[in-house]
C-alpha cells in the first residue's frame, strides 16, 4: 500500500517541551520520514491500485455524495482559519475543493493543503457535494469537493515565472484594473506554463481540428498523403531566403516548400496529393505573420480541362474546414474570444472568386492609384479585403488571374491573354493565406520562362527534367497552419498559434 508520509491523517498530537535527547530523536525521525516520502513519491508505478480517477469535467450533481479520486493541478489555495479552499484545475475545467478540520482531516492537514504550491499535481480522495449557490468562478458550478485525503504527486517550485490568471487576462482589462497581463516574450520564454492556460488549450485544440479536417476532407476527395524531403540540394523558391545546413563534406538546404516534390508526385501518376510538414523560410522579417519555421499544408492535383477544377477543390476543402470549426469547435472559439474578442469568421459556399481586374477596379473606386499589372501591396490587400467584406460579407475569397509579371517562373500564362496568368491568391480577413497556380508542365515552355526570369538553368535542371517524360496538366497551392488558425480566430500575432514559434530572434524553447 502506497503510504506517503507527507499525508497527515493522524489525530491531533500535542507538542510539548522535550529534553534535548527527545528533540534530536524527533528530528531524526522527521528526516527519515521525509526521505522515505521523497523516495516513495518518485516511485510511481510501484503498485497498480484498482482506483478510477474521475475527470473534473464530469463532476456534476449526478455524482453528489459519491467518494471519488481525482488528479489535478492546484490552481489556487487559500487558508481561512480551520478551512482551506483549493481550486483544482484540469485543462480548461476547474472545481472548488474544501479541506476542513473534522473527523477526516487534522489541523496539520489543512495547513499542509494551504501550503501546497500552485501548479503542483495532487491526488485527492473526496466526496462530491452539491452547492446551493452556483460557484461562478469555476467551470463546475454546481458541486464542490470535500477532501478526505490529499497526496502530492509532483510539487511545483514556489516562484512561478508567470501567473496563469495574468496570462489569460484580456489586455484592456489589465490596464484598467491595474492588474498584470503577461507580455508575449515572457509567455513564449515560459511556454510550458503558458500553454496550460484555457486560451492556449483552446487554440491548439482548434489547430488540431484544422489539421484533421484538412486530412479528412482531402482523403475523402481521393487525395493521397505524401511525405517530402526537407534536406534538399537546391533552393526551390529562389536563393535568398533559404537556410543552409552542413551536409557531410558539402552543404545542403532546408526546403522552403514541398513544391518540387509535389509536382514530381503528379508526374509519377499519384494524380492528387497533399502533405503536412515543416517549411523553412530564412526571411529576416519580424512581423506579426512571419515565422522562420511553420507547418505547411500543401495540395497538388492533376486536372482535366481547366485549372479552375483545382481552385474549386482547394476552396471546397477550406469551406469544409470552416464548417467543421463552426459546427464542432464553438467552445474553443468562445474561450479564445474571452481573452481576444473578435468578429466570428464568415464565408460563402461556394467560395467567392473575383478576377484580379475586378479587385483593381474596386481599389480604384476607393481611391487607390495602381497600374493594371502592379502587384498588390499588403495595405492594398487589406483594403481590398475590407471592400470585399463590405460588399459580400465574407472573410474568405479567391483573387484569380494575377498579372504574369508578378508571379514565379513556373506559373502557367493565360492562353487567352498574355499579360495575365492562371494563378490565384486566397485571402482570410484581408491577409494572404495561399498563393497558387497552374504549373507549366511542358519542359520547353518552362525553360523559356526560367530564362526570361534570368534563372540559372543548371540549378533547376532536375526540376525541368521531371516534365520530360509525360506530365499531366496540374496545379495546387499551400497554406500555413499557424496563419490560418490566427486569421480564423481573429488573432493578431502568428506566435499565438505556433506552439514553439521560430523567428529571426527566437530559437528556444
Amino acid at each position: 500500500m502506497l503510504c506517503v508520509s507527507s499525508c497527515f491523517r493522524a489525530t491531533e498530537e500535542e507538542q510539548q517541551a522535550q529534553s534535548k535527547k527527545a528533540l534530536k530523536k524527533q528530528q531524526k525521525e522527521a528526516e527519515k520520514a521525509a526521505k522515505k516520502a521523497e523516495k516513495q513519491a518518485k516511485l510511481v508505478s510501484v503498485s497498480f491500485p484498482d482506483r478510477e480517477l474521475v475527470r473534473v469535467q464530469d463532476l456534476t450533481p449526478e455524482k453528489a455524495d459519491q467518494l471519488i479520486w481525482l488528479r489535478a493541478r492546484v490552481h489556487t489555495s487559500r487558508a481561512k482559519g480551520k478551512q482551506c479552499f483549493l481550486v483544482l484545475r484540469q485543462q480548461q475545467f476547474n472545481v472548488q475543493a474544501l479541506v476542513a478540520v473534522g473527523d477526516r482531516a487534522s489541523k496539520q492537514m489543512v495547513k499542509f493543503a494551504a501550503n501546497i504550491t500552485k501548479e503542483s499535481i495532487i491526488d485527492v480522495e473526496a466526496s462530491v457535494r452539491k452547492v446551493e449557490q452556483k460557484i461562478e468562478s469555476c467551470s463546475q458550478q454546481d458541486v464542490e469537493l470535500h477532501v478526505e485525503r490529499i497526496f502530492v504527486i509532483s510539487q511545483a517550485e514556489p516562484r512561478l515565472p508567470l501567473q496563469l490568471e495574468d496570462a489569460v487576462r484580456p489586455d484592456g482589462e489589465g490596464e484598467e484594473e491595474g492588474r498584470a497581463t503577461v507580455n508575449q516574450d515572457t509567455k513564449l520564454d515560459n511556454r510550458v506554463i503558458d500553454l496550460r492556460t484555457t486560451t492556449s488549450q483552446a487554440i491548439f485544440r482548434l489547430q488540431s481540428g484544422v489539421c484533421q479536417l484538412f486530412r479528412d476532407t482531402l482523403t475523402q476527395k481521393g487525395f493521397v498523403e505524401i511525405q517530402t524531403p526537407k534536406i534538399i540540394s537546391a533552393a526551390s523558391e529562389g536563393g535568398a531566403n533559404v537556410f543552409t545546413v552542413s551536409y557531410f563534406k558539402t552543404s545542403a538546404y532546408l526546403a522552403q516548400s514541398p513544391q518540387l516534390y509535389k509536382q514530381m508526385c503528379i508526374c509519377a501518376d499519384f494524380d492528387k496529393v497533399f502533405c503536412v510538414g515543416p517549411v523553412f523560410r530564412a526571411e529576416d522579417s519580424n512581423t506579426h505573420r512571419h515565422l522562420t519555421e511553420f507547418v505547411g499544408l500543401d495540395i497538388e492535383m492533376a486536372f482535366n480541362y481547366h485549372y479552375h477544377e483545382v481552385i474549386d477543390s482547394i476552396t471546397d476543402t477550406m469551406v469544409q474546414i470552416f464548417k467543421g470549426l463552426r459546427d464542432n469547435f464553438q467552445t474553443e472559439i468562445q474561450t479564445v474570444n474571452k481573452q481576444f474578442p473578435s468578429e466570428p469568421f464568415k464565408f460563402l459556399e461556394p467560395t467567392l472568386r473575383l478576377e484580379y481586374t475586378e479587385g483593381v477596379a474596386m481599389l480604384r473606386e476607393a481611391g487607390v492609384e495602381m497600374g493594371d499589372e502592379d502587384d498588390l501591396s499588403t495595405p492594398n490587400e487589406k483594403l481590398l479585403g475590407r471592400l470585399v467584406k463590405e460588399k459580400y460579407d465574407t472573410d474568405f475569397y479567391v483573387l484569380d488571374k494575377y498579372p504574369l509579371a508578378v508571379r514565379p517562373f513556373y506559373t502557367m500564362p493565360d492562353p487567352n491573354n498574355a499579360k495575365y496568368s492562371n494563378s490565384y491568391d486566397m485571402f482570410m480577413r484581408g491577409e494572404e493565406i495561399l498563393s497558387g497556380a497552374q504549373r507549366i508542365h511542358d519542359a520547353q515552355l518552362l525553360t523559356e520562362r526560367a530564362t526570361h526570369h534570368q534563372i540559372d538553368l543548371e540549378k533547376i535542371k532536375s526540376y525541368i527534367d521531371s516534365f520530360r517524360f509525360g506530365a499531366p496538366p496540374h496545379g495546387g497551392g499551400g497554406i500555413g497552419l499557424e496563419r490560418v488558425c490566427m486569421l480564423y480566430l481573429g488573432l493578431h500575432n502568428v506566435r499565438q498559434t505556433s506552439m514553439f514559434p521560430r523567428d529571426p530572434k527566437r530559437l528556444t524553447p
Partner: protein
C-alpha cells in the same frame, strides 16, 4: 430697427444639391465585371427578383451565381439552382457585363449592394425590384403612371404578401376592378407592377380561386414566359 439680425452662417458657400438619387452605371465598357449582390433569407425567397433576373439575362450578358452564407445551414437544393444552370463561360468573369450574385443569408429583409463606394445598400424586395427594373426599362415618364406602378408595388408587398386574409381579399378585388379596365395593371403596357403582383398572388397560394379578371391576367402573364423561375420555386 429689427430686434435682432441673424447673421449668415456659411457665407458664400456654393452647395451642390443632388439632382438624382443614384446614377446607374454604364454597362457598355467591358472592363471589369460589375456585380450586383443580393442577400435574401431562404425562408422568404424573393420571387420578383428571380423574374427580374431572367428579364435581365435577356437584355445583358449576366453572370449569375448563388452562394450560401455561413450564417445559414441547410438551404434546399431548389434555392441553390434558382438562377438556372451555370453559364458555359463562367470561368471568365470579364466576358460578362453584369454580375448577379444571390447570397442566401440570415437577413431580416432582402438587401442589395452594388457600388459600395457610391451607394448605400438598398433594402426590401420592393426597392430592389425598382432598381433592377430600371436597368431594363425606364419608369413611365408620366408621373401619374409612375406613381401608379409604385402604388401597386407597395400594395403587393405590404398588403398582399404580408397582410391579413381581409387585406388580401381587398387587394384581389382592387386588382380585379383595375384589370377590368386595362389588360395590365398600369395601363396598356406590361410593367413592374404586373411582375410584383403576379409573384405575390402566386405566393398566397390561392391563384386558382381569384376573381375572373385576375385569372385572365394571370394567364396573360404566363403566356409572356418570364415567370418560369418563380413558378418552379413554388412547386
Amino acid at each position: 430697427m429689427p430686434m435682432y439680425q441673424v447673421k449668415p452662417v456659411s457665407g458664400d458657400m456654393e452647395v451642390d444639391l443632388p439632382t438624382c438619387m443614384y446614377k446607374l452605371p454604364s454597362f457598355h465598357d467591358l472592363g471589369a465585371l460589375r456585380d450586383i449582390v443580393i442577400n435574401a433569407n431562404p425562408a422568404q425567397p424573393p420571387l420578383t427578383l428571380l423574374v427580374l433576373h431572367s428579364l435581365l439575362c435577356q437584355r445583358y450578358r449576366v453572370l449569375s451565381t448563388v452562394h450560401v452564407h455561413s450564417s445559414v445551414t441547410d438551404v434546399p437544393p431548389q434555392l441553390l439552382s434558382c438562377l438556372g444552370p451555370r453559364h458555359a463561360d463562367s470561368y471568365a468573369r470579364h466576358m460578362f457585363q453584369l454580375g448577379f450574385t444571390l447570397i442566401w443569408k440570415d437577413v431580416p429583409k432582402v438587401q442589395m449592394k452594388f457600388s459600395v463606394q457610391n451607394m448605400c445598400p438598398i433594402e426590401g424586395e420592393a426597392n430592389v425590384a425598382r432598381f433592377l427594373f430600371k436597368l431594363l426599362a425606364p419608369y413611365p415618364s408620366d408621373p401619374a403612371a409612375a406613381t401608379l406602378v409604385d402604388s401597386w408595388l407597395d400594395t403587393a408587398f405590404f398588403q398582399l404578401a404580408e397582410g391579413s386574409a381581409k387585406e388580401r381579399a381587398a387587394v384581389l378585388r382592387a386588382l380585379n376592378s383595375a384589370l377590368g379596365r386595362n389588360p395590365w395593371l398600369s395601363g396598356p403596357e406590361f410593367s413592374l407592377a404586373d411582375v410584383a403582383c403576379y409573384c405575390c398572388v402566386l405566393q398566397t397560394g390561392s391563384a386558382a380561386s381569384t376573381p375572373a379578371n385576375v385569372q385572365r391576367w394571370i394567364k396573360s402573364c404566363d403566356n409572356l414566359g418570364h415567370f418560369g423561375p418563380a413558378k418552379r420555386l413554388l412547386q
